[in-house]
């Protein structure tokens, strides 16, 4: 995750400790004292979903799946995560709210010292459910919206999904839950960005989280729906402008980019152009501590069958299964040569990533997109939108730090 608001608008947020070694500089309480060494764990609590979204990385279905954890298995899994020291559990899916024990599991996670957060399509978040989740200790709800109503509903395969999601957001906000928007940017919905942001600034969300499309799940079948690299650059640039704009108007909404670390390099370039060298250097230094693409290191995923993946989109490869071995043992086992290489990827990156001046804040971008398109996880990310001049050139900020 890259926080545009933090980097360009100096907005502190509680999640910063999970992205930067910035805790000591922040005025807000931090959920980790230093950049965490243990991963945030995404758990696809169920495969089942009440919607059928075209870009779903979990390839969720409307029918029940076999092999989901029972309540007792889920609790033991959460216990093992807590014992291992995972800082955050993200309840995801499918749609996690179709699990009737979700509130109980959120409470269990909170009791065990895991920070429970939720990713949902929002359509099942009634006022009662939002209140129960808050009381159980839920700390954040991220609700997915993927365009203005007409486009969103087509994308999500369900009329009224947009209005239902916005109602869900409102119910969470009314319950006092920190609540944000999740928006996966594609060719189809890039034009709706401004409209959705305007609408949800008015609703009062705490966070905007913009995802780039990764190539797992059904997303892998819609590579063609991804933006071209130049359109992607344009969209990120517009998001930076938008963020500055609503922060200027006093709307202090945390704004994050997820899933494409070329964004880190772009933000340095953007800061240099917009604010000058000093600010750009500060942005670069923050991003260097952030450490680039987190796959296999600072993010992990466990699917509804217990398979452990290097990140939530990489559903085609599993490091092991928590039914066979505790999560922490799987995650720490660097006898797995791929896991070990992901953690030392500087020495494996090929092509222009191997010589890129931004390598230390990007680390080659998404190894999943690279593997899906070229077969090699350490090949350049096909969605890197930096120009050759930017990759090979000497940004004065980067040059100074390297010196």
């Amino acid at each position: 995750m890259i926080s545009i608001s933090k980097l360009l608008c100096n907005l502190d947020a509680e999640g910063d400790g999970l992205r930067y070694d910035a805790a000591s500089e922040s005025s807000k309480p931090q959920i980790a004292d230093e950049k965490q060494r243990k991963p945030v764990v995404v758990w696809n609590a169920t495969r089942r979903c009440n919607l059928y979204c075209s870009h779903c990385y979990a390839a969720a279905e409307t029918t029940p799946a076999t092999g989901e954890f029972t309540t007792a298995e889920a609790k033991r899994f959460l216990d093992e995560l807590a014992d291992y020291g995972a800082p955050v559990i993200l309840f995801s899916g499918g749609e996690p709210l179709v699990r009737s024990d979700l509130v109980e599991l959120v409470a269990h996670a909170a009791d065990r010292g895991l920070r429970p957060v939720l990713s949902s399509n929002g359509t099942l978040l009634t006022p009662e459910k939002a209140t129960a989740l808050r009381d159980a200790g839920l700390e954040y709800a991220g609700i997915s919206v993927d365009g203005l109503p007409e486009r969103n509903d087509r994308f999500r395969g369900h009329d009224g999904a947009f209005d239902a999601a916005v109602s869900g957001i409102e119910h969470c906000l009314d319950a006092g839950l920190k609540t944000g928007l999740r928006y996966t940017i594609t060719e189809a919905n890039a034009a709706d960005l401004e409209g959705v942001v305007d609408l949800l600034v008015d609703v009062g969300v705490d966070r905007f989280c913009f995802y780039h499309l990764d190539y797992g799940g059904r997303g892998g079948e819609i590579i063609d729906a991804d933006l071209s690299p130049s359109a992607k650059r344009e969209a990120v640039s517009r998001l930076c402008d938008l963020t500055l704009d609503y922060h200027d108007r006093g709307e202090e909404i945390e704004t994050l980019l997820v899933g494409n670390y070329a964004d880190a390099a772009f933000l340095v370039e953007y800061a240099l152009e917009t604010f000058g060298e000093e600010r750009a250097r500060a942005v670069y230094e923050y991003l260097e501590r952030n450490g680039g693409d987190p796959t296999g290191e600072r993010i992990a995923d466990v699917d509804y069958q217990g398979n452990v993946h290097p990140n939530q989109f990489w559903q085609g490869y599993s490091l092991g299964n928590v039914r066979d071995r505790p999560f922490g043992d799987i995650w720490e086992d660097e006898s797995n040569p791929l896991l070990s290489a992901l953690r030392n990827r500087e020495s494996h990156l090929t092509g222009r990533c191997s010589r890129c001046q931004y390598q230390s804040i990007c680390r080659g971008g998404s190894p999943l997109r690279a593997a899906t398109t070229s077969g090699d996880p350490f090949a350049p990310d096909p969605q890197c939108y930096l120009t050759d001049e930017e990759v090979d050139g000497a940004n004065p900020v980067v040059g100074d730090v390297a010196d």
Binding site: A72, E73, R323
Partner: protein, 91 residues
């Protein structure tokens, strides 16, 4: 004879999410044992092998592929506490 009473069968072995899982084993050098390196999702053995090759080509002399559902797993540690469990999906 070993004591096998402390191990129980690990249930739910299909592991498909929803595509079939194939356990992957690689031998990094000829002198080394085969090591389990996780599983890949694929519709057939050749597709699983191709997928695993991409991920492990540079590390492997030998690659073995085995349908996850065909592995009998017995463990002294289990995620399930045993006993009946109610359904967790709401209708």
């Amino acid at each position: 004879m070993g004591d096998n009473s402390r191990r129980s069968k690990v249930e739910c072995d299909e592991r498909g999410n929803p595509r079939s899982q194939w356990e992957v084993f690689v031998r990094q050098r000829e002198s080394e044992p085969m090591c389990h390196v996780g599983s890949v999702a694929a519709d057939s053995e050749p597709a699983a092998y191709e997928h695993a090759s991409h991920l492990f080509d540079r590390y492997a002399v030998d690659v073995w592929i085995c349908p996850a559902a065909e592995v009998g797993r017995y463990s002294a540690r289990t995620l399930s506490a045993g006993g009946d469990e109610s359904r967790v999906s709401e209708p």
